[in-house]
């Protein structure tokens, strides 16, 4: 079994951890006193507006900025040709062929998706910048357009990046166990023609943007921005801009939602930096909503073709084989990491021991993809859940029983999967039972009959899902063995300042997850003081010295990486405080305890030093000590114990923790319109130790809402010319309050044995709602022709088609039995 170090459980819960402590962040946010990037202003700053490509694929024949530059109040422009002189292409994660992509901050010579930034214009006001952009003359020569990744590798397909010799960015075969033997042993082989996971993203309400200043004397840029993975942005930008990382100061405070979509803003930030230097003024860039929809980080669209599932007569699942085709969009900004990240959850929650998946990723004339809540695992989990429900439907197994039969069992935890990932803890049957009870599954047939009496089709769906968190970045080496990334880390500092203030800094970039609150809860319990006296600085600042290469907020890891760093630093500070008190009282350290906001002698509570005295001594009152008093300024780097996986076998542990979510829903379909209404919903979460149950529940709720939207309404739809048909909130319908079903939540805790606090990351939710709504629709359609749900996105017209032609989807499923 893959070796994992078990962290000793040194943490003792006090009065803060485990409580729904009201959030520290709320005070400023409910009063409009948050500071989002767009709230930061500088004298004489210039507003940036992008001239964007009106074509999905075209060569740039000429660019003329002269008319724009002549307009009073226009400060300057930047073109792709200048960018190509001033910078090198961004580092590519991919090995060849994808590694040959040349990605610059602005289009150079060619545009590859509609909305791609071509020229940046800076002016005195945002309205003027927008107007001046209209006067930039760009001549294009349109090229044939590729919008379907399935056609990307066909002979004669339009090629986006000539240097790559085609549109393939990555391909690899992932096989574990003995797949042929599993199929030989099977009593049934279920074949599924094609499954499609749709393109959407979580559309944070705040779009991208930055206020960027350049200090000419030091050559250092400061970016007040909402990038959610500053460590990654700096790694991308430094070499491209030919400067050291320390020249790139990234500052965030409040971020208006991220969901992964704000990880890959490094091209736009680079443009802002170049212009701040060129124009000798601060640059303000705020993305418009349509800009965001056209160009910012769509989620991965994926097909699964030619799937075959090996099933025993009793319903035991032995293995599957499939071909995944992933659409990366026009550039590889975080890709092809999606080509490995799915394998954290290759078999979902099930004991599939024999798996073969051929992964192919292609580039198309659509917006670049990059992480979106549930990144790449959500697609795989949707696949495993679809497979289960299609197998159940086809072979007439109960969807609940086939899950129970094949779930990894609680007594098998920690469980090593077929590809060497280690599921740390969990109790899937218990979570499923809770979800079924909350949704009232016992009465489903009564409800089905009642709905039928109203002319409605009613169905129950289950979505079992995982939230794998705390990446081992060495998994990147499974798609590109030359990469030099591995492990993970996060940093925190905790110090006791001169008047006794406890000050915490983090490397993370929270976007609503309540890091200030949960970090304070952990520190308060370690220092044995009130949570109110812990001051956690808001946001991220590269100049705080509390960050490392993987710092940021992404991929469900704060409760492990961030809080373990906080715990480590707070433990160091507690030791410092005890040591200083022992020096003052001239007693052994063992005689000192921290309690009630004091360091005191255990047996003599009168001999007590308040935090203020402890803070003052090293900082301002340190004469007369025979030895140096401790600094009271502690920095800790948390590093989970990871190994580099076996690159040949693609085998090893890729993430530290696996939180469970089981979702269940009841849907009603109007057979006359195809409209699906989610009428009841339940979500059960097990993320190990919960630092703040209310915050955890809030994350479950948010993930549920995103999933419902993606399942029914949200889609980035392109026409054959590469025009995005859903570029705003009119056409891209996100759930409104009246769309939301009644929700019941449940939770229990299976502490992680691998993390210092027993916590697991849990922010993404694994797309459980998409899985369960697809299952619910399929269940509801059983009484109306028995169509099979083969798409993750099921708007009324797709459901209507399934009602009208149920045979079309049924014909894509075949069973071979012996």
């Amino acid at each position: 079994m893959t070796a994992i170090e078990t962290e000793a459980g040194t943490f003792q819960k006090g009065s803060a951890v485990g409580q729904s402590v009201p959030r520290k962040e709320d005070g400023r946010l409910v009063q409009g006193q948050g500071v989002f990037f767009d709230d930061v202003k500088r004298k004489d700053m210039g507003y940036l507006h992008y001239v964007r490509s009106p074509y999905a694929h075209a060569t740039i024949e000429s660019i003329d900025v002269s008319a724009a530059l002549e307009m009073p109040g226009v400060y300057g422009t930047l073109t792709g040709d200048e960018v190509a002189l001033l910078t090198d292409p961004f580092f590519q994660i991919a090995a060849p062929p994808g590694g040959h992509v040349k990605d610059y901050a602005l289009a150079v010579g060619k545009v590859r998706y509609l909305g791609e930034p071509v020229v940046a214009v800076v002016a005195e006001t945002r309205e003027l910048a927008r107007s001046a952009a209209e006067f930039v003359m760009v001549e294009y020569e349109p090229l044939d357009v590729l919008v379907d990744a399935r056609a990307a590798l066909a002979e004669g397909a339009p090629v986006l990046h000539e240097d790559c010799g085609g549109n393939l960015s990555y391909s690899g075969v992932w096989e574990w166990g003995d797949v042929d033997a599993a199929f030989a042993e099977a009593d049934h082989i279920v074949s599924i023609g094609e499954l499609h996971f749709d393109r959407f993203n979580s559309t944070p309400l705040e779009c991208g943007g930055a206020l960027v200043e350049y200090n000419r004397g030091t050559g250092q840029w400061t970016m007040y921005t909402n990038n959610q993975f500053p460590g990654f942005a700096a790694i991308m930008m430094g070499p491209a801009m030919r400067v050291g990382i320390d020249k790139l100061r990234i500052v965030t405070q409040d971020i208006g939602g991220g969901f992964g979509n704000k990880i890959t803003t490094h091209p736009q930030l680079t443009v802002c930096c170049l212009l701040a230097r060129k124009l000798k003024r601060a640059i303000q860039w705020t993305e418009y909503r349509t800009d965001f929809h056209q160009s910012m980080a769509h989620g991965n669209e994926r097909w699964f073709q030619g799937t075959e599932v090996a099933v025993k007569a009793d319903g035991t699942l032995l293995g599957f084989r499939t071909k995944a085709i992933d659409d990366a969009g026009a550039y590889l900004r975080y890709e092809p990491l999606g080509g490995v990240i799915w394998s954290q959850v290759a078999g979902g929650l099930y004991r599939w021991r024999n798996i073969r998946l051929e992964f192919t990723q292609a580039m198309t004339n659509k917006a670049p993809v990059s992480p979106n809540r549930g990144y790449s695992r959500m697609q795989q989990l949707w696949f495993t859940e679809r497979v289960i429900d299609i197998v159940a439907h086809t072979l007439d197994f109960d969807p609940v029983e086939i899950r129970r039969l094949n779930f990894i069992k609680p007594e098998q935890m920690p469980y090593e999967t077929a590809n060497g990932c280690v599921y740390d803890s969990g109790d899937y049957p218990r979570a499923l039972d809770m979800a079924l009870e909350l949704i009232g599954a016992d009465e489903i047939e009564d409800r089905r009959a009642e709905a039928a009496s109203r002319g409605k089709l009613l169905g129950l769906g289950i979505g079992s899902t995982l939230d794998s968190g705390t990446n081992n970045f060495a998994q990147s080496q499974l798609i590109n063995p030359e990469l030099q990334f591995s492990g993970n880390n996060e940093v925190a500092t905790v110090k006791l300042d001169i008047f006794g203030e406890v000050v915490v800094t983090l490397g993370t970039t929270p976007q609503g997850q309540g890091h200030e609150t949960t970090a304070a809860q952990v520190v308060a319990d370690i220092l044995h003081c009130d949570v109110d006296i812990i001051n956690v600085r808001a946001g991220h600042d590269s100049y705080w010295n509390s960050h490392a290469g993987f710092s940021g907020t992404y991929a469900s890891q704060f409760a492990v990486t961030g809080l373990s760093a906080v715990k480590g630093a707070a433990d160091l500070l507690a030791a410092d405080m005890v040591k200083l008190a022992s020096m003052v009282f001239q007693c052994p350290e063992e005689a000192i305890e921290l309690a009630d906001g004091f360091a005191r002698i255990r047996d003599n509570h009168e001999a007590a030093l308040p935090f203020m005295a402890l803070g003052a001594i090293p900082n301002a009152n340190n004469a007369g000590f025979p030895d140096d008093p401790p600094t009271m300024n502690c920095r800790y780097v948390y590093r989970p114990a990871f190994e580099v996986p076996d690159k040949e076998r693609k085998f090893g542990n890729l993430t530290l923790t696996y939180a469970t979510q089981i979702h269940a829903c009841i849907v009603e379909i109007d057979p006359e319109t195809g409209v699906t209404e989610v009428v009841d919903y339940a979500a059960v979460d097990d993320c190990g130790v919960r630092i703040n149950p209310q915050i955890v529940e809030g994350q479950v709720m948010g993930a549920t809402a995103h999933a419902i939207g993606a399942a029914l309404w949200e889609s980035f739809v392109y026409d054959e010319d590469g025009n995005l048909l859903t570029p705003n909130f009119y056409d891209y319908h996100v759930p409104h309050v009246l769309d939301m079903p009644p929700l019941k939540t449940g939770a229990f805790e299976s502490p992680s044995p691998f993390t210092p606090l027993g916590t697991k990351g849990m922010g993404e939710g694994g797309g459980g709602g998409i899985h369960c709504i697809c299952a619910g629709i399929q269940d509801a359609l059983r009484a109306a022709g028995g169509a099979i749900v083969t798409d993750s996105h099921n708007p009324y017209h797709r459901v209507w088609e399934m009602l009208s032609h149920p045979e079309r989807s049924r014909e894509t499923i075949e069973v071979t039995s012996r």
Binding site: G32, R126, E127, L128, L205, F259, N728, F729, H736
Partner: protein, 163 residues
Amino acid sequence: MSTTTSTTRTISVVINGTSYERDVPASLLLVHLLRDDLDLTGTHIGCDTGSCGACTVVLGGEAIKSCCMLAVQADGTSITTVEGLASDDGALTPLQQSFHDHHALQCGYCTPGMLMSATALLEQNPHPDEHEVKVALQGNICRCTGYWNIVEAVVAVGEGGAS
């Protein structure tokens, strides 16, 4: 086309009890007057199409989207923004307190708009039921919470208890 910023007009408007007189371009949106000229940055922008409600303020007792109104159209009106809710000593309104107690916000970007829509509702209907709250908030998008806790927070205020 060309910019129309040369066409300006003097407006006076009362915001959170303070009178302002400003020369504004005819094309200036009310939300930009608030954010850029008066530095009342609590009012946010999320969509540019009047869809999301992050820019909601209360004007003459009605919740309106300040991205859908020109600054000149606000001449002579009285406006409350999120900055005008809590009292000068920092005491939160029952609605703000209820948002805090019910975890009705995560990133906080939609929150000012939600608070202003709900404030207008509660002034007109002090005891709204769940459906009435949902109808009043249907023009406000939140991408973090799924709305459940927001609805609960507003209903709780109407029932007379913030928690």
